[in-house]
Symmetry: C2
């Protein structure tokens, strides 16, 4: 099955890449863009039929590799 993960910076952690995108959009005359935050997205194909097992394995992988829990949050969708 496929499991999707979004990893985002925690609130309060500076995001210069998101800031650059926001400023670029403002410069392109999209003046109503107040904030942009960039994150990562993972599409994981896992050879496991049981949805709960797959998700708990992906959660473990997030903690160990995919996200840096000091500055990032993850969400399995």
């Amino acid at each position: 099955m496929k499991v999707k993960v979004i990893v985002t910076l925690k609130n309060g952690v500076l995001d210069p890449q998101g800031k650059a995108i926001q400023q670029t959009l403002n410069g392109m005359n999209y003046c109503n863009i107040d904030k942009v935050r960039q994150g990562k997205y993972f599409d994981i194909e896992i050879n496991e039929i049981d949805e709960n097992k797959a998700k708990s394995q992906v959660e473990e992988m997030c903690k160990k590799l995919l996200a840096n829990l000091v500055i990032e949050d993850y969400k399995i969708i």
Copy 2:
């Protein structure tokens, strides 16, 4: 309001970063990981109350800046 965008590589476009993550996971004894594809995620705060207007503006922004439509797809969620 907040609009969320996921930008992923089109099928068939090589994703060395995803491949590296997959191999690392396999090396960490997660042997049932068949494929990993990495994408980008954007959290956009837009000063617009009408949801449809906001989404159509974000779609325009995806086409112009956030995604490279030759190799990437975008999804507004």
